[in-house]
Amino acid sequence: MEYLLEMKSISKSFSGTYALQNVSLRLRPGSVLALMGENGAGKSTLMKILSGIHRPDEGEILIKGQRVAINSPRDSLKLGISMIHQELTPIDEMTIAENIFLGREPTRMGVVWYGEMYRKTRELLREMGISLDPKTKMKDLKVSDIQLVEIAKAVSYNSDIIIMDEPTSAITDREVHQLFRVIRDLKAKGKGIIYISHKMDEIFEISDDIMVLRDGQFIDSKPASETNNKELITMMVGRELKDIFPSNKPVPGEVVLEVRGLTKDKWFRDIHFQLRKGEILGFAGLMGSGRTEVMEALFGIVPFDSGEILLDGKPVRFRKPAEAIASGLAFITEDRKVQGLNLLASVKHNITISSLKKVSTRTGILQFRQENKEAEQYVQLLRVKARNKDQLVQYLSGGNQQKVVIAKWLMTNPRILIMDEPTRGIDIGAKTEIYKLMNDLAHQGYSIIMISSELPEVIGMSHRIVVFHNRTVAGVLNQDEASQEKIMELATGQHLVRS
């Protein structure tokens, strides 16, 4: 048995459009195969075929040399394939153990045997180095813990093949190392892992082979040791990317926003920072370090206890987002599906919702012609790829949805843009476009606060970087002195230990 899994010449089309065309994949036992490609390259479709959600139009699948048919997720599980999905689906009211053993609870005389279930879960978590109580309810867990539980669940099936779809999108660096340790253990046991991620450094750290898809087609497959960052990006995007981060940064002007001693009990304390005109100010830190909460307080979404916010030197305090918007702030939130967009509405309606006053009479009657014109302008400016601006945003790709959110906020004529994880979950092509846009906006005099957990992005984009640790500012770094190591040192509190 040379290969654990072989997928041969798989094709799949939806309504006459190829999602996958003649794609082949090989997975060796005891190895990690990184599956790369932009959003929409066909990675998910390929994995959905493997996990029994879609059936291929053509091609065959061999597991340990045997031809198999995967017609349902159950088949897939029975054949020893388990998958960690990108979108987390915990049942909030159930405990960790109940979630892990959902649908296959150990029973004794037909009754769920909780003792056994908790014992097994405790063992599993300990093996994986996760220090959580199996009796904790999912709703009481942090996103990163939920992610770890999902990983534990996939491992618990004892499958030979484990698919991990962006398993690190919601976890911190420390937990990433934990995960990698688990992956290495699994490798040593001869399991095969298909690892999907957009994060280059992770890919090179953990994978043995790298396979690239683009537009539903197989591009190349190489041992990780024989390729590099630049080559991979070129393969994924299909063109040479000169530089991901723009190099011509503007020179910041006067201070436009100053935050002094902002405190909200249990959420963040004593936050200080200044933002200048034309500046991109990066906010780095671990997940849950309080960055988002500070911005929510600043923007009037939640109240704060004490401290001062100065806008152009004048103290302000926004009681609701509408007031912040009126003062020239915009908040491009972290989760576009939950906070950023109305998925049931069109591109146009999403873009104009915060600026309807601009396109209506004083009595509140909408001027459709003007609305169309303005919306069209932003669709063009941001190069939103949609069939037309009446298309529902739920049918757009992640990158285009993000552009719609940005368009909405630009239309409010802001001066200060708060961008929370602006490129999470979008492909490298769209990322590059968004970086360029941010830089252009800074040149035009916009000030930008960028919260990001991707260190290369924070370093590449920011003039200065405010690093959070434990719900307060651990330090501020200039771009020329910032490195991933220095940021991590501050973000994990090592600077405190040493001094």
Binding site: A19, G216, L344
Partner: protein, 327 residues
């Protein structure tokens, strides 16, 4: 799929006629047309001018309530109190026009105000105190009914002025006055919903409330507006009903809220909010009206009418759940 292929897929979907999608979008219209066709074949009286006007007059009350319910449901809310609010408005109006005590216009304004105030209370409690709409309006349903009985002493209020009876019973250019009123309200409501800021905000709140708040939409005001509007229309419906039956009935309007909600759902508006159309609601209202009328003409007992209505609602909800699953 890549962006390019998603787009290709989308445009392919737009170009080619997709019977499934067409059926999902316009199935309700087709159902209504088929029903009308069947009934006109089976019953010679169905497609007569008089019967059509009769149907329209009958549906006008539910039509008004269903328009209000559409606004509320689009924000992902629900208003169970409209039947009771209708009764309250009815007895208030009746008490003022009894024996011509006050001019009609004062009584009508009072009836509208009664509906508006009760609706406002619903809205304020839902929006400012964050109580679930189901509970708030269930409470209002009971309170308004009680208020009605207290106000009328539990007895009908007869002896209305002759001129007042025109609003429910009269005709204008051969068409019943309530039908004209429904038409006007429908046009104004459509304008509000599709051509004004507040209408757009109604969709935004129902589509994603959290996003609407962050986008600077005054979500509380939108919610207060929809419940107040629903109350106002219930008040108007109460006035028309009182005029039509020529007395203020304290027990009027019981379970009317359910017919209104049924019409909205049959018309394709999602109970989860954010998606739906006013014309769909009107088709829903007509469908319920035609079913009732048809079964009447065919001498089917009203017990069976309830069963048929239930089945129609079930099918409509089934179609809607398919729609949400698709998206």
């Amino acid at each position: 799929m890549s962006e390019a292929s998603t787009n290709a897929l989308e445009s392919a979907r737009a170009r080619t006629f997709n019977p499934k999608q067409f059926l999902r979008e316009y199935g309700i219209v087709i159902a209504l047309l088929v029903l009308i066709l069947l009934l006109s074949i089976i019953s010679p009286t169905f497609l007569t001018f008089n019967n059509i006007m009769n149907v329209l007059r009958q549906v006008s009350i539910n039509g008004l309530l269903a328009i209000g319910a559409t606004f509320v449901i689009l924000t992902a809310g629900i208003d169970l109190s409209v039947g009771a609010v209708l009764a309250f408005s009815g007895v208030v109006t009746a008490s003022l026009v009894q024996g011509g005590a006050y001019p009609d216009w004062i009584a009508i304004l009072a009836g509208l105000a009664a509906g508006l105030v009760l609706g406002l209370i619903n809205g304020v409690v839902v929006a400012k105190w964050y109580v679930a709409p189901f509970i708030v309006t269930l409470g209002m349903m009971s309170a308004a009914r009680g208020l009605t009985f207290v106000y009328s002493d539990g007895r009908p209020i007869p002896g209305l002025s002759e001129s007042f009876k025109w609003f429910g019973g009269g005709t204008l250019a051969g068409v019943p006055v309530p039908v004209w009123i429904l038409l006007i309200v429908f046009l104004i409501s459509s304008f509000l919903l599709y051509r004004t800021r507040i209408g757009r905000y109604v969709y935004a709140v129902g589509g994603n409330e959290e996003s609407a708040i962050i986008s600077g939409v005054n979500v509380k005001r939108v919610k207060i507006f929809v419940y107040a509007f629903s109350g106002l229309l219930a008040g108007l419906a109460g006035i028309i009903l009182t005029s039509r039956v020529t007395s203020g009935l304290p027990q009027a309007g019981q379970s009317y809220e359910l017919d209104a909600i049924a019409a909205v759902v049959i018309g394709g508006t999602s109970l989860n909010g954010g998606r739906g159309k006013l014309w769909g609601t009107m088709i829903g209202v007509l469908l319920i009206g035609v079913i009732n009328n048809g079964l009447d003409l065919l001498n089917v007992s009203s017990y069976y009418q309830l069963i048929v209505k239930g089945l129609v609602i079930a099918v409509a909800v089934l179609i809607d759940s398919q729609k949400s699953r698709k998206s």
